[in-house]
Symmetry: C2
Subunit: 611 residues, 2 copies
C-alpha cells in the first residue's frame, strides 16, 4: 500500500548536517528563519514520502508537528500525543521541544525573530489563517514574512523521493453505493445554492469520494493525490499526474470529467478569475496558495466548507452495509489475535521467550490478510506493551520492539482497509493478573466508553457536546486523557476524516445519520501502562418511542471484539453498564463463533461470558 520511491535511497546525512544544509540554503535566500510543518499541499494527515520534510529534518515521524529553524536556534512543536515520542526521535541539542498548543510556534517565533529579518514560509503547506498569524507575528517584530516559490528543504534534501505515480483505480459501485455522476450532480446543486460557479477541491479523500476512485500515493489510505475543480454544471477538471491514469480509469470516469496535468491548476484558477467566477474554497483545508492565486486572478472567492466533506461523512446504505460486513471480518481477525495472545503471552513470558510487540503486530496483520477484500492496514499498528502503552501513538520498531512481560498490560490499536470499509479498533488486555489500580482505571475508561456509546441525543448535537460523557468517570477520580474521544472514519478511505469529531475542541458540525466515528477514551500512566477501548460506531436514527418523546439520534456499534473481562471491576459498574457489556459480548460471540477454529471458538466462549 505504501508509495515507493523511484530512486535508489542515498545515504542520509546526520541530523546536524541536515540542519546545516538547510541553514546554508536559508542564508543563501536571505532568510533568518523558515517554518517546516508536517504537511503537503493537501494539508492533510496522510502525506507522500516526498512531503516528509519534517521527518527528514528532525527525525520526528509523528502525524502532526512543526519545526521552526532560525539562524542559531530551532524548535520542534508537537501535541500531547507525541511529547514522549519527540524526545526519543529528535536531537535535543538541535531542537528545543515545545507543546504545540501550550507553547505556540507564534510565541516562540516572536521571541526569536528580530527587526529587519525575514521569515520564510511555503504557501502550499499552510492555510491562509496560519499564514496570517505568522505574518502578524513577523510584522509585530518589525520583520517580514516572505512566501517562497519553492521549498528550501527540497533544495538541500539529497535523495528526496519522487512523488508517487501509482495508478488510480475505480472504486466499484457495489461498494460506493452511488454513481460518481450522481454525486457530482448533488454536490453541484450545493454550489448553486451557495451561489458559487465552481469549487476548488484540494482534499484527496474528497476527490476520491466524488469520482469513486482510489489510489496508492500515501501509506495506509487509498488516496490518489490530486486536485480538482468542480463546476456548478457538475463537470470536473481533474489535475492528476498522467502516469496515474490508465485506460480503465478513463473508461470509469466517463464524460463530464477531464484530466489535466497538475501543473495546470494555476492556469485553471486564473481562467476562473478572468471570467469573474465565484469560486468556493475551504479556508480550513485548502492551502494559502489557492486563495492567493484566486484573488490575484480576480475571482470572487467564496469561503466555505469543502462541499464533499459532509456528504462523504454521511455514509449511504450500501457503505453502511459494507462497514458492517468489513467489521465482521475484521473482528474475526481481532478475536483470533486476542486468542493467540492469551494462548502464548503468559506461557512464553514465564518460559523466558516472551511475545514481542512487533511480532504481535505482524501476526495481527497476517490474520487480517486472510479476510476477504482486505487491502492493507488502515494505519501503522500501535502495539504497546507495559509502559509503551502510555505513548499514545507508539509504534514498535523492528529492532526496538519490547517484550510483553508477565502481568503487564498490552494496548493494540490497529485497523484494516477493506474494499467495503475501513476499520479501527483498540483493545487493551492484561498478560496475566491485573493490579487493583489497573482494574479501576480500565473500568473507568469502560464506563466512559459505554456512556458515550449508548447515548441518545437530539438532532443538532455536536461531538464537542458529547465528549465529556466519555471522560466523566475518569474526571471523578482526578484523571483524564490528552487526546480526542472520537474521529470520523472513511469508507475504504482515510481512517481519520472530518468534519465531525468528538473532542474537547469546540466543533460546530452536528452528528448526522450515517457518520462513522470512533469511541475511544483512554487512560495513560507514564512509565507504567496505557489503556484505550475503541469501537467504531455509526450515527443512526433513534425514533421517538412515545408521544412525549422526540426523534433522537444514537450510535450503532460496528466493532465486534471482546473487551478484557479480567480488567473489569464489576463493583464499579451499574446494572445498565453490565447489561450493555453482556449484550455486546453475546453479540460478538454469536457473530464470530462459526467462523473460528475450535480453539479460538472455545477462547471466545469464555472471553464473552456474562459478568
Amino acid at each position: 500500500m505504501t508509495a515507493t520511491p523511484d530512486q535508489a535511497p542515498q545515504e542520509t546525512p546526520s541530523p546536524a548536517a541536515r540542519m546545516n544544509l538547510l541553514r546554508a540554503e536559508l542564508s543563501r535566500r536571505g532568510l533568518a528563519g523558515f517554518v517546516v510543518p508536517r504537511a503537503d499541499a493537501h494539508l492533510g494527515e496522510y502525506i507522500g514520502a516526498d512531503s516528509e520534510r519534517l521527518s527528514w529534518l528532525t527525525g520526528f515521524t509523528g502525524s502532526a508537528g512543526l519545526a521552526v529553524v532560525m539562524e542559531t536556534e530551532a524548535a520542534v512543536f508537537v501535541d500531547g500525543r507525541y511529547t514522549l515520542q519527540v524526545r526519543d526521535q529528535v536531537d535535543g541539542d538541535l531542537f528545543e521541544f515545545c507543546h504545540l498548543t501550550d507553547q505556540p510556534p507564534a510565541d516562540w517565533i516572536a521571541g526569536h525573530l528580530a527587526a529587519g529579518q525575514v521569515l520564510g514560509v511555503d504557501p502550499w503547506l499552510h492555510s491562509e489563517r496560519q499564514i496570517a498569524a505568522l505574518r502578524q507575528v513577523a510584522e509585530k517584530a518589525g520583520a517580514a514574512l516572505v512566501l517562497q516559490d519553492d521549498n528550501p528543504v527540497d533544495a538541500v534534501w539529497a535523495g528526496r523521493p519522487a512523488a508517487s505515480t501509482n495508478p488510480v483505480v475505480a472504486h466499484a459501485l457495489e461498494h460506493a453505493g452511488k454513481a460518481a455522476a450522481d454525486k457530482r450532480a448533488e454536490v453541484a446543486e450545493q454550489l448553486v445554492a451557495q451561489e458559487a460557479d465552481a469549487a476548488v477541491l484540494t482534499l484527496p479523500d474528497s476527490i476520491a469520494w466524488l469520482l469513486n476512485v482510489r489510489g496508492q500515493d500515501v501509506p495506509n489510505s487509498p488516496l490518489p493525490l490530486s486536485f480538482a475543480v468542480l463546476r456548478a454544471d457538475a463537470t470536473v477538471q481533474w489535475f492528476l499526474a498522467p502516469e496515474k491514469v490508465t485506460a480503465a480509469l478513463r473508461d470509469h470516469i466517463g464524460n463530464g470529467v477531464t484530466i489535466h496535468d497538475p501543473g495546470e491548476l494555476g492556469s485553471a484558477l486564473d481562467a476562473l478569475g478572468a471570467a469573474g467566477k465565484a469560486v468556493l474554497a475551504d479556508p480550513e483545508t485548502a492551502a494559502a496558495w489557492v486563495f492567493a492565486r484566486l484573488q490575484d486572478a480576480g475571482a470572487r472567492v467564496v469561503k466555505g466548507a469543502d462541499p464533499c466533506q459532509l456528504p462523504k461523512a454521511c455514509k449511504n446504505v450500501v457503505e453502511l452495509a459494507g462497514a458492517r460486513a468489513a467489521h465482521r471480518r475484521d473482528g474475526c481477525a481481532v478475536v483470533r489475535f486476542l486468542s493467540w495472545v492469551d494462548q502464548h503471552g503468559v506461557a512464553r513470558a514465564k518460559a523466558g521467550d516472551p511475545l514481542y510487540e512487533a511480532e504481535a503486530a505482524a501476526h495481527l496483520l497476517a490474520l487480517r490478510g486472510q479476510g476477504e477484500l482486505f487491502q492493507g492496514r488502515s494505519f501503522e499498528t500501535i502495539s504497546g506493551a507495559g509502559p509503551n502503552g502510555a505513548i499514545v501513538h507508539y509504534r514498535p520498531g523492528d529492532e526496538e520492539s519490547r517484550p510483553l512481560g508477565l502481568n503487564e498490560m498490552f494496548l493494540v490499536d490497529s485497523g484494516g482497509q477493506y474494499l467495503d470499509g475501513t476499520t479501527d479498533v483498540t483493545r487493551t488486555i492484561v498478560n496475566g493478573e491485573p493490579s487493583a489500580e489497573m482494574r479501576d482505571r480500565f473500568t473507568r475508561v469502560l464506563k466512559g466508553h459505554i456512556a458515550l456509546g449508548t447515548a441518545r441525543f437530539p438532532k443538532g448535537t455536536t461531538g464537542s457536546q458529547l465528549d465529556a460523557l466519555a471522560r466523566y468517570p475518569l474526571w471523578q477520580a482526578g484523571l483524564d486523557f490528552d487526546h480526542g474521544t472520537g474521529h470520523g472514519v472513511g469508507s475504504y478511505l482515510s481512517v481519520h476524516e472530518g468534519p465531525q469529531r468528538i473532542s474537547k475542541v469546540p466543533n460546530r458540525v452536528a452528528l448526522e445519520p450515517g457518520m462513522i466515528v470512533s469511541n475511544e477514551p483512554g487512560y495513560y500512566k507514564t512509565g507504567a501502562y496505557g489503556i484505550r477501548i475503541e469501537n467504531l460506531v455509526a450515527v443512526v436514527e433513534s425514533p421517538a418511542q412515545g408521544p412525549d418523546e422526540q426523534d433522537m439520534l444514537a450510535f450503532e456499534t460496528l466493532t465486534l471484539a471482546p473487551i478484557d473481562r479480567r480488567l473489569i471491576d464489576p463493583g464499579l459498574l451499574n446494572p445498565e453498564e453490565i447489561a450493555w457489556l453482556n449484550a455486546y459480548h453475546a453479540r460478538v460471540r454469536e457473530t464470530h463463533r462459526d467462523s473460528l477454529d475450535p480453539e479460538a471458538a472455545a477462547w471466545l466462549d469464555q472471553a464473552t461470558q456474562p459478568i
Copy 2:
C-alpha cells in the same frame, strides 16, 4: 427596587394604533422598515422602563426578543422560552410569530425588503455584528440600511417614561471584599498587557463592580445605568446622570474617578481618537455606536472582552462568604415557603379554596423580606401551577393567577438580592400525589442535576463541555429541555451574568474558581406540567488526592432547600446519587433547623429524611 416614571402614565393606544403611529413615523423618515430589539444602549438583559420599546409596540414582556416592522407586515421573534408567552401577549393579526434562531430575522427581512427600500436601525441598540448582518441582508436585496440618529419609536411613544434618576450608592467593602481603587489598578494592568490606552465600559454591572457602587435604574438588579472610560493609569471617566450623584457617592469614589454628563461620552471618545489612543471595546457587549464613534474619531480600536467581566465573575473570598451567608438566609425563607405550601396546598384544594400562584409568590417574597440584608427580588418570580409550569418564563398576573389543583405540580423559580449576595433557586413540588410519569421525569431531571453538580473537571473546561451531563438522563428517554443549563450569577448584582455559561451553545470561557453558576435542568410537558431543579453552585478547587491525579475543579452547592422526595423514584437512582441526595438533605436540615418555628422545623425533618 423598580424605576418609577417621572410623569403620570397616559392612556396607552391600542396595539394597532401603536403600530400605525410607528408606521407613520417610518414613512415620514422614508423608511420601509425598522428593527425593534428588546434592548437598551447597554445591550443587556436588564433595561429601564424608558427602553421597553418592544413591550410598548407589541405587548411582549419577555426578557429577549425582537420585532421587525415593514410597511404592511411585521414579525416578532422570540426564543424557545417564550414561544407560548408571545402568543398570549401579542396580536397575531399584527405580527407574525417567528422563532429567533430557527427563523432568523435576517431571513424574514430578506423575504420582505425590496430593492430600493431603506431599512432603519438604531445603532445604540445593536452590536456591530448585528448591524453588519442586517446591512448584508439589506444590500443583498438591493436595499439600504440607514442608522437612525434617534429612535423612531421614541418619537411616537406618548407617555414614554423618563430615564431613571435614582441615586447611586456605595457598595460597602465588607461585601465587595476589594477596594475599588485596587480593582481599577488590576484591570488597568490588563489594559497595559493588551496594549490598550483605555477601555470603554458599557455594561452597567461591570461599572458597578469596578467602582463598588450599586443603583436602582432597572427592576430587580441594583444596576446604575451609566458608561465609563477606564484608562491605563487606572483613572476613570464616569458618565452618569447628575441627579444620581450624591455627596456620599462623591466621597466614596474618591480620587481617580471623575463624573461627567452622559452626553459627554461622545466627545470623550473623540478626544481619545484625536490623541491616537488605542481603545479597548467589547464587540460582544458594546453598541455599534461606540465602534462607529471611535473609528470616526481616529482611535485605534482594540476589540476584546470587557476587561471587568472575568474578574467580576470570579468572586473573591469575601464575596463567596457573603454568597454562602445569603444562601443560608434565602434557603430558610424557601423552607418556610415550601412548608407553608405543603400545609395549605392540598387542604385548600380539597376545600375549594385553593392556593393561587400569585398568592404563593407574594408569600415567598414576604418571607424573604424577613431576612437580613434583603433588598428585593433578583427577578420576577416564576410561579407556575400545573400547565403553567411548562411555560419556561411564566409569571402569574395579578388577575390571571391560576389555582394550584390537587395532585398538580407547582414550579417556583425565585431569588433575592441581599447586600452580601444574589440568589436564584427553583423547586418543583407536587400538591398531593404524583403520577408515575411525573416521578420518572422528575427523577431524570434530578439525575442530570446531580451529575452536573458533583462533576469534577480539569482546568480549562467550559460550561459547553459540561452541559450534556445534565441532559443525558433525559436524552436517554427521548426528552430534552429548550433552555440553557446554567448561567453566571453576580454578587449583589445581575442574576444573569457572563462570561461563563453552561449550555449547548459553544462558549470558549473556561470555568474558574469563584465563578457562581446555576445548575438548572428541567423538563416541560406542554399543557401538563413543568419541572426544574435549580441550585446555585460555586466553582472551587478540587485538588489531586493521589500521585496519579491532577488538580481538578468542582462545584460547591450554595442553595439550601429540600428537593421534593415524593417526586423521586429511588429505583432510577444509583447508590452514589442516593448518597448525594441524603447528604444534601442532611446539610439542609442542619443548616436551617434552629432558625425555624417548631411547625416548619418538623416539616423540614420529614422532608429531608433519607431515601
